[in-house]
């Protein structure tokens, strides 16, 4: 066990001192603070919106949830994509494994350190957002809203940890760091951009959009029953395809926790401001989105287990 914590401590120290982590941290923190201001403005303009709207409300640019949907994958992947193969190619792995530790200490320690770095990033970002907004609004979250914020943090950590484990899987699968970098970027773009576009395309093919609806995806109560049924059908198709992407699953659960409607747009949420619909309690909304949480968690477990198995069985060969 000592080996895990030694590796973890060293890796954590590396993360906190690394430029890539600090740049990402600063970037996420900056955009989140801007989005928190926007959320505060949104709340001022929409008196029915609660405190939680700081995470979902937008005027221009990104809300926190959209930010995580789009940039979350890269944050997680960046902390993991070269975890193993960099040590393999630079020759540090053979020295590390020549010490009296079990081999799994290395991969477990690295994963724990990455997860801890991501948790630090998430918790401090959300904390700073609240800190920025409370003085502007003049009120804070209720107890139930505070609970939702905790849940949102946990969900975000889980989601980022999933991308971390996927990045680590790439680092075990590939020999070269350049290959795993490329694989990470490809997966990110595929999940964040390609799947939503494909989902719309396929939905369009199966249920052609009525001309009147083009350009306005919004729900129009003046349309006939038939139109509403078509829209509903399109939405179901689109969201079932989108569910292939963990980014969509995340936005779905996050919206549910925050109590806003969630649509299958490019960045998970409709631009122009999500509408509050909260009729469910926190526990109810968690129960409703449980399968999506389970899917993200399963993805994490599968990626980590695969990298774990492969790393344990891999051999150090002459010349790396």
């Amino acid at each position: 066990m000592a080996g895990i914590f030694t590796v973890c401590r060293k890796e954590l120290y590396d993360h906190f001192g690394s430029k890539r982590y600090l740049i990402l941290f600063a970037f996420i923190l900056l955009l989140s603070s801007v989005s928190a201001y926007q959320g505060a403005e949104y709340i001022k303009n929409n008196p029915q919106a609660g405190f939680l709207a700081i995470f979902s409300g937008t005027q221009f640019g990104f809300s926190f949830v959209q930010l995580m949907v789009f940039f979350g994958p890269i944050v997680g992947l960046v902390l993991g994509f070269d975890a193993i193969n960099k040590e393999r190619t630079s020759g540090t792995l053979s020295v590390l494994l020549s010490q009296p530790i079990f081999r799994d200490s290395v991969i477990n320690g690295k994963f724990l350190a990455g997860a801890a770095a991501l948790a630090t990033l998430t918790v401090s970002t959300i904390g700073i957002m609240c800190g920025v907004v409370i003085p502007v609004l003049g009120f804070g979250p209720t107890l139930e809203q505070a609970l939702s914020i905790v849940l949102l943090s946990l969900l975000t950590i889980l989601y980022l940890a999933f991308w971390l484990s996927l990045g680590m899987l790439f680092s075990v699968l590939t020999k070269k760091v350049s290959t795993s970098t490329l694989a990470s970027v490809a997966v990110w773009l595929f999940c964040a951009i390609m799947i939503p576009i494909l989902a719309q395309l396929i939905a369009n093919q199966i249920v052609p959009s009525p001309i009147a609806l083009r350009g306005s995806e919004g729900f129009n109560p003046q349309q006939s029953q038939e139109f509403r049924a078509l829209i509903q059908q399109r939405f179901v198709i689109q969201s079932s395809i989108s569910k292939l992407s963990p980014t969509y699953l995340y936005s779905e659960v996050a919206s549910s926790i925050l109590g806003v409607t969630q649509r299958g747009g490019l960045f998970g949420l409709d631009l122009g401001g999500a509408q509050p619909f909260r009729a469910l309690t926190v526990t109810q909304s968690v129960a409703a989105s449980w399968p999506s949480v389970a899917a993200i968690a399963a993805g994490l477990v599968v990626c980590f287990a695969a990298s774990y198995m492969m790393f344990i069985r891999s051999e150090i060969r002459p010349g790396g």
Binding site: G17, G91, T92, S98, P100, I316, R317, P318, G319
Partner: protein, 312 residues
């Protein structure tokens, strides 16, 4: 001395169809400096990886310090230090931080770790550089840091895979002296792999020659040389004031002389039986003066080539 430090039995490692280590039977005793000699790709590195438990044998067994390298690889790594081939270093850490990390992985308590690091940095001559990041180090300094790393656990045996690659001559001598000192003072067993014959010749008490995964021969340096001269009879190296073609021709005609070769300014005379007197007289008859005359010494290279050819 009763139990060998390393004992392998029919140790074999295959990578696909390629046999990297082929039924290796090797014994290294406690307190020895054993030289593992062979060209690149002969299986030296693979053998060390197998002995450290970083790679698993296809068949056969190996014991290091009484522990099985497959079943008890963690115990092996507690008593065996290793400087792997192409060892890498965390460039962002300073020498002291790096050694501290390795010390932590070996479960050394803080106070002991710091004491040990200070000693080792002095031993490998890096005290001045202890707070400098490894990225600023030269190849030779990194190699010395690697040796310090291998020694931090106070091992009973240390594996050094090509320890002097990229190190300047002065550094090579320092490393050699360090090996001798540790061996003498602490009875440290050393297994050193190298393709540099001279280095092995100077450092090691016993040598194993490996080629294509097979151990061709293990013996002391003296015995290896003796075996070679015994079979080939006697040979003498001359340095003469002048060498004429007639002299060479007539030397070949002397009874007992098998061949005469010229290399640079030296003349080598090979004989099945000792006829030094006849040879000297013939040289004097041709008006040449003997400037130097001594029994031919074999370099390890020649020994090496000979065992290769025999194995073929």
């Amino acid at each position: 001395m009763s139990q060998p430090m390393i004992q392998t039995h029919e140790l074999t490692k295959m990578y696909g169809d390629i046999t990297a280590v082929d039924h290796l039977n090797l014994t290294v005793n406690e307190g020895e400096i054993f030289g593992f000699l062979g060209p690149n790709g002969a299986g030296k590195t693979t053998t060390i990886l197998l002995l450290m438990g970083l790679s698993t044998p296809t068949s056969g067994t190996a014991m290091v310090g009484g522990y099985d390298v497959v079943k008890n690889s963690k115990e092996v790594r507690k008593i065996a230090g290793s400087l792997p081939e192409f060892a890498g270093y965390y460039e962002d850490l300073t020498a002291r931080q790096y050694l501290d990390y390795i010390g932590q992985l070996n479960d050394l308590p803080r106070a002991e770790r710091e004491k040990r690091i200070t000693e080792l940095l002095a031993d490998v001559g890096l005290t001045k550089w202890e707070n400098v990041k490894v990225e600023k180090f030269s190849r030779g300094m990194k190699q010395r840091l690697g040796i310090a790393q291998a020694l931090i656990k106070n091992p009973k045996i240390v594996f050094l895979d090509e320890p002097t690659i990229g190190v300047d001559p002065e550094g090579v001598k320092e490393i050699r002296d360090l090996i001798f000192r540790l061996n003498r003072d602490q009875g440290l067993t050393v297994l050193l792999s190298s393709h540099l014959l001279h280095e092995v010749q100077l450092t090691c008490s016993r040598v194993g020659i490996i080629r294509q995964g097979k151990l061709l021969v293990t013996d002391t340096m003296e015995n290896l040389t003796k075996g070679l001269t015994g079979k080939e009879g006697k040979s003498i190296e001359f340095k003469l004031s002048k060498v004429t073609p007639e002299l060479v021709r007539e030397l070949k005609g002397i009874e007992g002389v098998t061949s005469v070769t010229e290399e640079n300014d030296r003349l080598y005379v090979y004989m099945t039986e000792d006829n030094t007197k006849g040879v000297s007289e013939m040289i004097a008859k041709h008006g040449a003066i003997i400037l130097l005359m001594k029994p031919r010494e074999y370099t390890l290279e020649e020994i090496f080539m000979k065992y290769y050819q025999e194995a073929r």
